[in-house]
């Protein structure tokens, strides 16, 4: 069954506002990656976390293996942040096999 549940499936933000995306895991994961898919369909790496939090500009991500979730916070959203965001996680015991969430389609509006 599905091991990565990503929410929301779609999100609309006004410029300058923020929100959080979330991935819940049905099994223990040892690491998570967050990506944004650009207009050409390429996956852009945002974060890799094995624990704790990381921040990069207006993006911040957290991963809690014990509580089985990860979040991606976007603040001060800009038009160029629009796109589809994916989390992907590696289960404990897997050999770097990433299981992807279904994605969150983010639209940032003026």
């Amino acid at each position: 069954g599905d091991q990565v549940e990503q929410s929301p499936s779609a999100l609309s933000l006004h410029e300058g506002t923020g929100s959080a995306l979330r991935c819940n895991f049905t099994t223990t994961m040892r690491a998570v990656q967050w990506f944004r898919k650009n207009s050409r369909g390429s996956l852009i790496n945002l974060f890799y976390l094995a624990s704790g939090t990381k921040e990069n500009g207006r993006l911040k991500s957290a991963f809690d293996s014990k509580e089985r979730y990860s979040t991606l916070h976007i603040r001060d959203a800009q038009l160029e942040d629009s796109g589809t965001y994916f989390c992907a996680a590696e289960a404990v015991g897997s050999f770097n096999k990433l299981t992807f969430g279904a994605g969150t389609r983010l639209a940032v509006c003026p």
Binding site: A31, F35, S42, Y48, A88, N96, F100
Partner: protein
């Protein structure tokens, strides 16, 4: 950032033919992966590869699939023979190590089997 290249970007073939998808991974990476995404569905893991061997494969990695990286050149996914259900976008990825390490993805090859 590090770039993974995939050739071709699109491929259309007739069912039953053989197809080879090529991946040029990041230059100092040692671990390689293929993922498959059928239109409208989630990306799914196919296989990973290290030191000339398949380390793990999913149930999607049928007997008709094979992977290799001869002499450090392209990392390839070969499907022989192809079936209609093989139509999908195939993404290659690579990572430097097999431990806790970021996987970098290529832009995908869109395969259509007619």
């Amino acid at each position: 950032g590090p770039k993974v290249l995939q050739i071709p970007s699109h491929q259309i073939i007739d069912m039953g033919q053989m197809v080879t998808l090529n991946c040029d991974p990041v230059s100092n990476h040692l671990y390689f992966y293929w993922y498959k995404q059928i239109l409208g569905q989630q990306m799914e893991f196919l296989v990973n590869f290290y030191n000339g061997k398949v380390m793990e494969k999913s149930k999607l990695f049928k007997d008709q699939f094979s992977v290799e990286r001869p002499d450090g050149s392209y990392f390839t996914l070969k499907i022989q023979p192809t079936a209609l259900e093989d139509s999908a976008v195939y993404f290659c990825a690579s990572s430097r190590t097999g431990g806790e390490d970021t996987q970098y993805f290529g832009p995908g090859t869109r395969l259509l089997v007619l």
